[in-house]
């Protein structure tokens, strides 16, 4: 029985101070002598049109030559998928949007990310990222909160055969995710996430980001409430009284979650964003270790740029100390297990011992995957629950005299998901040339994927590798065959035969997700094939929910392929020649030929100065969009690109930005509902329209919505209030403001919605109306009778898309069911959330999309 010390946060709480510095960002400090308040490099969201979205642009100078079977469309889809990884971090306020295929000749002023294919890279490089800032960062000394990234460049090779980079390989995808992380302001970390170097990276295409990556981007671009739901630690790392700069401090849970941070020049550190949910439940060991020394080809330890002062003088890393778990032990079983809570930082100080450098570092681990006789090694791979498995690894400092284990070498698995079998550690020489160490690990029974860290000790030092392997509850997905077919409407489908496929599987055609249609009794999956041009060959991959992918076991073999024998013809788009001046919003119509516009369709205008605010697909070949052109946009022609699945079409020089016109009147999008503040207004409702360039009075001005005159007034804040006239069709409607002098004002679009849903009754689990005599309490089930929730086809929304707000608390709907015989009515069930105040009149609203009901009141009594 190992000794575990529990320390409760109440005994060592530290108030939340200043900015976090962890994970690691490019960091500046105001002065060379402290105080060391980290100032990171990041995009300035405030200058982005919607304060959230940074656009990335893919160069029109695509890669060539490509690997056999690869295509530019496939590469674009993988880039989109990789960008979506960062865009999907819920605790981050940053979103990434496809800005289109862009030309280097297009002048742009707003921040953005350029993905380029450029062989101006010497041999030895696969990809690189180049964030650009101002050179003079003296403003950091005057209290600046961050140094803005002006633009980032993600450079891939043009010749993708040079290093055999096939777009369907998991490694290509993870490289792009890694490089996107750099473009956003993340440096390397040592917690085995995607921002770890490829030596120790343990994430997969099925789960590209680790908790460390999520914390890193979330601390840089925090979504509201992010810190309130996560744990923090802070403290100092010192040798004697001297602080240690760039020591890596890692919070490691027994369940394998790891979040790291780096110390400041005075040794202080703070790590925020540590997950408190899941099987770790906020319990963490904490250890500190030096950065590995710079390897051949690296400029700094772990290739981490050291922090700089406001004059760009660097603070070099101190790598000369020992690794230890708190409190001052190399034995993780003697480490303190801290209980972290939201909102309070636990204080943890380390006193480390000076030494010349880490004895062990750069550990790379491998397990096996694939059918018997055809196994291939997978870096930081899976170990099946309840099985024994070989684990191979290399690590600097573990072998001496060419083939002997380092004195005192011992390897143990941290946490309870696996053990290293005693006596199995041995030296192994592969093919007479490559050194490995070999051990046998026992994966215990787990119910969910559990990353497992290894502790490697030698006589005088310790090394810890988070997520050295992952114990997984299910075997890896495998594809035996992919068979084309069609559904009842003639749409292309694919039947995927194989092993370990299920309803939780995600299927990719290149980088485009295929919608799951059916799980057959024989275990095969039927999916809809994402749109693609006829003749396209898409690599098919299955991702499991427990981090595994069907490609992991392929090794160097090629993946199964779906051939679009009956795909669409070559797609094309056209736009009416309607130039838009800088500083205005406007609607744009896009016509498509051989296109398949649907909910997956994304439009980009090839310039970071143009943002797509809203888009409506009104047919497979017609789209309407609202765009905003930035006020600082230079006059230029841009391309317009549209992607749907694996279809990509670009029209070069299709859109013209005109010079800004002082005094130009412009309606601003989106147009909001005065009641809900959401971007859709029902007939008879009041629309709020922001506008620029308006006079103080609208006397003589008129406004039409879908060609119908609307009653307007000018609000106190300069907003136009317009009543949506009756008789309009549901969907996008053109809004046109007309000046008395006939001046040209670009039209925009608004969404006209059906009337909002209405809640007419609420009953408890017994069917009794909820009132003061029959209140509900936490965890009770409530059934609401709601009218008008169905769409124009009388289809009810899925429960997951229904938003319920109970006394200010958002709550998921448990179910949505039709009421027999009442076409417009449905029953919605939800569970009363905790922490509601007792009240006889607690408001409840129901919403779907931008339609929100008026309040219905229920009694709550806990």
């Amino acid at each position: 029985m190992r000794l575990v010390k529990h320390v409760f946060t109440a005994v060592s709480l530290i108030a939340l101070p200043s900015v976090a510095s962890a994970y690691y960002h490019w960091v500046f400090f105001p002065g060379s002598n402290g105080p060391y308040t980290p100032v990171p490099e990041k995009f300035d969201l405030r200058v982005l049109p919607d304060s959230h979205t940074i656009s990335y642009f893919i160069s029109d100078q695509g890669p060539e030559p490509l690997m056999p079977g690869d295509s530019f469309h496939a590469i674009v889809s993988q880039i989109q998928l990789a960008a979506g990884v960062w865009s999907g971090v819920a605790s981050s306020d940053l979103r990434l949007a496809f800005g289109g295929i862009s030309s280097a000749a297009t002048q742009q002023s707003a921040p953005g990310i350029d993905v380029v294919f450029d062989d101006e890279m010497p041999p030895g490089l696969l990809a690189q990222s180049l964030p650009m800032t101002v050179q003079d960062v003296s403003f950091v000394a005057n209290g600046a909160a961050f140094v803005p990234i002006l633009r980032s460049r993600l450079q891939l090779r043009k010749d993708l055969t040079f290093y055999q980079q096939a777009s369907y390989s998991d490694s290509f995808f993870l490289t792009i995710v890694h490089e996107f992380g750099h473009t956003l302001g993340l440096q390397h970390s040592l917690a085995s996430g995607v921002m770890s170097t490829s030596i120790t990276r343990a994430t997969t295409k099925a789960r590209p980001l680790s908790p460390d990556d999520i914390a890193g981007v979330s601390v840089l671009y925090p979504a509201p409430g992010f810190l309130a739901g996560t744990g923090s630690i802070s403290g100092r790392v010192s040798i004697g009284n001297a602080g240690v700069n760039l020591a890596s401090v890692v919070a490691l849970s027994p369940a394998g979650l790891a979040v790291s941070g780096m110390t400041n020049p005075d040794g202080t550190y703070r790590i925020d964003g540590i997950p408190l949910d899941g099987i770790s439940r906020g319990q963490y060991y904490v250890y500190v270790h030096p950065l590995p020394p710079a390897a051949q080809g690296e400029g700094y330890p772990d290739n981490i740029y050291p922090p700089q002062d406001a004059s760009r003088n660097p603070f070099p890393a101190n790598t000369g100390f020992d690794t230890q778990f708190y409190p001052n032990t190399r034995d993780w079983t003697q480490g303190t297990l801290f209980n972290l809570n939201a909102g309070n930082a636990v204080g943890i100080n380390f006193s480390v011992q000076k030494r010349s450098g880490p004895a062990v570092y750069d550990m790379a681990t491998f397990t096996y995957q694939g059918p018997e006789g055809h196994q291939v090694s997978v870096q930081a791979g899976p170990v099946q629950s309840g099985t024994r498995a070989w684990l191979l690894f290399t690590a600097h400092g573990t072998v001496v005299n060419n083939n002997q284990l380092a004195p005192g070498l011992n390897v143990s698995a941290i946490g309870g998901a696996a053990q290293v079998e005693a006596g199995t550690l041995q030296y192994f020489l592969r093919n007479g040339a490559d050194d490995y160490l070999l051990a046998v690990v026992d994966g215990n029974t787990v119910s969910q994927d559990t990353p497992t860290a290894l502790a490697v000790t030698v006589n005088n030092d310790l090394y810890v590798l988070p997520a050295a392997f992952t114990v997984v509850p299910t075997p890896a997905p495998a594809i035996a065959s992919v068979t084309p077919g069609t559904d009842g409407q003639g749409n292309l489908t694919a039947t995927i035969m194989g092993a370990n496929l299920g309803l939780n599987s995600r299927v990719l055609f290149d980088g485009a997700r295929a919608n799951l249609l059916n799980l057959n009794p024989d275990g095969s999956l039927v999916v809809s094939a994402p749109p693609a041009t006829g003749g396209h060959q898409a690599a098919v991959e299955v991702l499991s929910s427990d981090t595994q992918t069907s490609s992991q076991a392929l090794g160097t073999s090629e993946p199964p392929v779906f051939t679009y024998k009956n795909g669409f013809g070559n797609p094309a788009i056209s736009l009416p020649p309607a130039p838009v001046a800088a500083g205005t919003d406007a609607m744009v119509q896009i016509a498509g030929y051989n296109t398949n516009f649907d909910a997956r369709t994304v439009v980009g205008f090839g310039s970071s100065d143009i943002v797509v605010r809203q888009a409506w697909v009104v047919g497979a070949g017609r789209m309407l969009v609202n765009i905003s052109v930035g006020a600082a946009a230079p006059a230029t022609a841009t391309s317009v690109s549209v992607t749907t699945g694996l279809q990509l079409t670009t029209l070069t020089a299709a859109f013209q930005i005109l010079p800004s016109n002082p005094g130009q009147v412009s309606l601003r999008t989106p147009i909001l509902n005065a009641v809900t503040q959401l971007p859709a207004v029902p007939v008879g409702g009041t629309a709020l329209i922001n506008a620029t360039g308006l006079p103080q009075s609208l006397a003589g001005w008129t406004l039409t919505i879908a060609g119908q005159p609307a009653s307007i007034s000018l609000g106190a804040t300069g907003q136009i209030r317009a009543v949506v006239p009756g008789g309009l069709l549901i969907g996008p409607a053109v809004v046109q403001l007309n000046a008395p002098n006939g001046g040209s004002i670009p039209p925009v679009l608004m969404q006209v919605d059906p009337p909002p849903p209405a809640i007419t009754a609420g009953t408890n689990a017994s069917g009794a109306p909820i009132d003061a005599a029959h209140p509900v309490k936490t965890n009770d089930t409530v059934t609401l009778t709601v009218y008008g929730l169905a769409d124009s086809y009388n289809a009810l929304p899925a429960a997951a898309s229904v938003r319920i707000n109970v006394g200010g608390v958002n709550q998921a709907a448990a179910s949505v069911t039709a009421v027999p015989g009442q076409a417009s009515a449905c029953l919605i069930q939800f569970v009363v959330p905790p922490n509601l105040a007792n009240a006889a009149q607690t408001p409840v609203t129901v919403g779907v999309d931008a339609r929100v009901s008026g309040p219905f009141f229920i009694a709550v009594q806990n």
Partner: protein, 177 residues
């Protein structure tokens, strides 16, 4: 339990280095893939845009050429740097010290830009050891770890003596042709 021979199925996954994203090159790779190998002293530097990217151009005084004769004054471009009030950073790009002596494995692209092969992989500092002989070490001199007696410890890797390198290069070139 899987048998040991299955390990022969190991794919070559150890070649990738950390960084932005590097592929590890062997010494033979660097000798063969470089377009020039020179021992040179850095005599100056400047930052400038090339297209949309900033490079730092280091001026070299060539002391010795070991592959492809060239001018005595050369320039090598390192991605990243400062120009026109802007700065670009590239994780892993080397920073050279003016006055420092290095061994460069250079690569010139079709467009004529000369860079260090493999970002920093093709760059070695030339220093004198305690016996007075010139030795090559990895260029990350800021990370050089010395023990108390001044010897380089594991990890910072003295690759070889300058004289050994001098004799190895023609052998590899001859074998590689």
């Amino acid at each position: 339990m899987r048998i040991l021979s299955m390990m022969l199925a190991l794919s070559g996954m150890l070649s990738a280095l950390r960084a932005t994203t590097l592929q590890k090159l062997s010494m033979d790779d660097m000798i063969l893939k470089s377009t020039a190998i020179v021992r040179a002293k850095v005599v100056g530097s400047r930052g400038a845009f090339r297209g949309q990217d900033i490079y730092t151009y280091y001026q070299l005084q060539v002391l010795e050429s070991w592959k492809a004769d060239g001018p005595q004054q050369r320039e090598v471009a390192v991605p990243g740097g400062a120009a026109r009030g802007l700065r670009q950073t590239v994780a892993g790009a080397p920073s050279l010290n003016t006055g420092g002596e290095y061994l460069f494995f250079l690569w010139t692209s079709r467009s004529g830009l000369t860079q260090v092969i493999g970002l920093s992989q093709g760059l070695f500092s030339v220093i004198q050891n305690t016996a007075g002989s010139a030795v090559l070490i990895r260029a990350a001199t800021t990370d050089l770890m010395l023990d108390q007696s001044g010897h380089v410890v594991n990890g910072s890797a003295i690759t070889m003596s300058l004289s050994d390198m001098r004799s190895q290069i023609p052998q590899v070139l001859k074998a590689g042709k």
